[in-house]
């Protein structure tokens, strides 16, 4: 019994919190100095076999997921939970306390105090002061105590709970992280243009994960600044489920697509030596897509056309123009330069073809499902609100004790006030209040 009490006290103590936070800070440094998530041979190579072995035992290569680091985080949570259970009832009692039960002696010993007499009888004085208090923004309650009347007004009582909001927010964030870890996944996939996929590959293990629907990459493009730096990576993705297209959206870096809780982020790309050529045999015809390797002749029998890419013009990685060779059935072949990705037309014996030629890419997508992220965000919001409340708001209380004075028809008044934080600021607003309630003061 005694032991469990001591254990409870340890876990309810801020001492343990300081210890855990110090340990977390110091151990966190390790993973910023020793590169994480490399393969064993890499560590052997860099640090020698003995140290690499030692790292392995302590899970240093993946330390932020190691048993001991998670244990420390668990310790912090246990500390927070028990500390809160231990202290919350007291804080709650302070919020809900009957402030009119205060003894006159307590008022005498308050740090902010002012005594004076008011030249009117008790009942009238109570009324005057109540309305002046209301004007000053306080809402007093009152109680008769023997022949005296006690008024009380308080502000920001609930600000005493700010610290609990901060501490709870940390637990909420952890809960969100755990939820995401167990019910979500992270992965990636590379989808060549015009192709689709129903599965992606888990980060780290590369295990395939079924999406439950299909994602097609309709196109991928890179925009450049004038100086040649990449300006934007864009993919047009189409989601289809049970063979039906349900959603088409363009994504960019920082603007992902979400479907059924799974989010697709533009993360990288791969350029091919192939080209995608879209040709329609007239403005109103449905276009046909072809994957054309460089300098290889392609045939489109229905359109009675043969074609191929014979040359390109590039600046660095940026492909600007493509030279196409075309031959309609029974006609002489011809060539033309088209801009990469721009529509062009080509006429032969009275027939006009619309065509677009572009370099072929695969879009690289980061894929994540994280059902815990809303909890994490909620926790973050709670933390910021809680920090604001616990740092900048305080519980301010004022009392007025009014007693009939010895002289008839006068009332003696004691005004007292206290704040649990920012005492200097409160002292200032207290003296302003004194001026408002007692304007004839010398």
């Amino acid at each position: 019994m005694k032991n469990s009490n001591q254990l409870w006290e340890l876990f309810a103590s801020v001492r343990l919190a300081v210890f855990t936070l110090c340990t977390l800070s110091l151990t966190s440094i390790i993973g910023t100095v020793i590169p994480q998530k490399e393969e064993l041979p890499w560590y052997v190579d860099k640090y020698g076999p003995a140290i690499a072995q030692f790292f392995q035992v302590l899970d240093i290569p993946n330390m932020y997921n190691s048993w001991w680091f998670l244990g420390l985080l668990g310790l912090l949570c246990a500390n927070l939970i028990i500390c809160s259970i231990d202290r919350f009832p007291t804080a709650w009692r302070l919020v809900k306390a009957d402030q009119l039960a205060v003894s006159p002696d307590r008022l005498q010993s308050m740090p902010n105090r002012e005594d004076w007499t008011h030249p009117s009888p008790l009942a009238e004085t109570v009324e005057t002061l109540q309305s002046s208090l209301a004007k000053a923004g306080w809402r007093p309650t009152s109680r008769k105590v023997d022949e005296a009347v006690l008024l009380f007004a308080g502000k920001g009582a609930w600000s005493r709970l700010g610290v609990y909001m901060v501490h709870t927010s940390i637990l909420v964030i952890f809960a969100g992280a755990i939820l995401g870890n167990f019910l979500g996944f992270k992965g990636n996939v590379m989808i060549p243009e015009t192709e689709s996929t129903g599965k992606i590959f888990a980060a780290g293990s590369s295990e395939p994960i079924e999406l439950g629907f299909e994602v097609r990459c309709d196109s991928f493009a890179i925009d450049y600044y004038e100086n040649g730096m990449p300006k934007e990576y864009r993919s047009i993705l189409t989601v289809s489920e049970n063979g039906k297209e349900v959603l088409q959206e363009e994504i960019e870096v920082n603007r992902p697509l979400t479907y059924r809780g799974i989010t697709f982020y533009q993360s990288n790309y791969q350029a091919y030596q192939n080209f995608i050529i879209k040709i329609a045999a007239g403005p109103d015809q449905t276009p046909q897509f072809f994957k054309a390797p460089y300098q290889q002749e392609m045939a489109w029998p229905e359109g009675k056309l043969r074609f191929g890419i014979i040359n390109v013009e590039a600046q660095g990685n940026r492909l600007d123009r493509i030279k196409i060779w075309l031959k309609a059935e029974g006609q002489e072949p011809s060539t033309m330069w088209v801009e990469n990705g721009k529509e062009a037309s080509f006429s032969s014996s009275g027939k006009t073809y619309q065509l677009v030629a572009k370099q072929m890419y695969a879009t690289g997508l980061q894929v994540a499902k994280d059902p815990g992220v809303w909890l994490v965000y909620l926790g973050c919001l709670l933390m910021l609100v809680g920090l604001y409340v616990s740092f900048f708001l305080s519980h301010r209380r004022i009392w007025l004790l009014l007693r009939p004075a010895k002289k008839n028809n006068e009332t003696s008044i004691v005004l007292a006030g206290a704040a649990n934080k920012n005492k200097i600021g409160f002292a200032r607003s207290f003296s302003r209040l004194v001026e408002q309630l007692h304007p004839n003061r010398k």
């Binding site: 936070l21 590169p35 920090l387």
Partner: protein, 284 residues
């Protein structure tokens, strides 16, 4: 006039104002104090104009963005926020010679930005990952926090000097601007700046996480920059709690303000140049 000329003048103006503060402090030249503060205001106005001009210049170059996106711009902004906070505190709390302890940080930041060969001053367009409003929110919140911690560290030095100086008897009751504030007032200001910085740092870490999640689908990946910002956050959380249980105040608080700021500097600067990481800042 170009923004880099204005920012160059800013560096000189900060040097001038800092020297004035030194002069006021060393020679107790109280009448010059107002000139030192006025010099700081002037430097701040020039700096604000410089930052504003750099902003418009980026639009003239055809890819406008707020000047908060590389190491150079962030150092300039850091310096600007330090001065803003210092001037705010001077105005609100009559902090007297605090300028002597806060302004050198603003000066050092500007001098580093102007003279270091490690960082590029060019106005460059943004790569796709940096095109996010969360990035702007992230940079602003982080640097307001860092600036508050810089001021706290300056106050920490001021406190230690006050306690160690042994001249407190001579200065007792003397509220000339060239004299240090009473120790209890300095301590209160250290605590206040730490609380202020802590909220902004928390917001900075959070907005960074939201940005990472919108760009890569991971709000926390333990990269060295993130980890160090968390360590910094822990250092201040430890200070708040040690103050509560152990009554850490006075000199201990002053030392924690300095230690905390060293963690800030390491997060901001050391990680880029001493550790390998993913953060794009400072790699150029």
């Amino acid at each position: 006039m170009t923004s880099s000329q204005l920012l160059g003048i800013t560096t000189l103006a900060y040097l001038f104002a800092t020297l004035l503060f030194v002069f006021v402090f060393v020679f107790k030249a109280n009448r010059l104090y107002l000139f030192a503060v006025a010099g700081t205001v002037l430097a701040f106005v020039i700096q604000t104009a410089g930052i504003g001009l750099r902003w418009t210049e980026s639009y003239e170059m055809g890819f406008g963005h707020a000047p908060l996106t590389n190491m150079y711009e962030s150092v300039v902004f850091f310096s600007w926020t330090i001065t803003l906070l210092y001037l705010g505190m001077e105005w609100k709390f009559r902090t007297r010679i605090l300028g002597l302890f806060a302004l050198p940080f603003a000066l050092l930041a500007m001098a580093y930005a102007s003279f270091s060969t490690n960082i590029s001053k060019e106005i460059a367009p943004l790569v796709p990952a940096l095109q996010s409003n969360w990035l702007i929110a992230h940079v602003i919140t982080c640097f307001v926090g860092y600036a508050a911690f810089a001021v706290a560290a300056g106050l920490g030095v001021m406190y230690l000097l006050k306690k160690g100086g042994g001249n407190s008897a001579r200065e007792a009751g003397n509220s000339q601007p060239g004299n240090l504030l009473p120790a209890a007032d300095i301590e209160d200001l250290i605590h206040k700046s730490m609380l202020f910085g802590f909220i902004w740092l928390s917001a900075g870490i959070i907005t960074g996480a939201v940005w990472a999640n919108s760009a890569w689908g991971t709000y926390w990946s333990w990269d060295p920059k993130e980890t160090w910002s968390l360590i910094t956050w822990f250092v201040y959380a430890i200070t708040l709690h040690a103050r509560y249980t152990r009554g850490w105040a006075g000199k201990r608080l002053a030392w924690m303000a300095i230690l905390g700021f060293l963690a800030v500097i390491f997060t901001y600067y050391g990680v880029n140049f001493l550790l390998s990481g993913l953060h794009s800042y400072g790699s150029n």
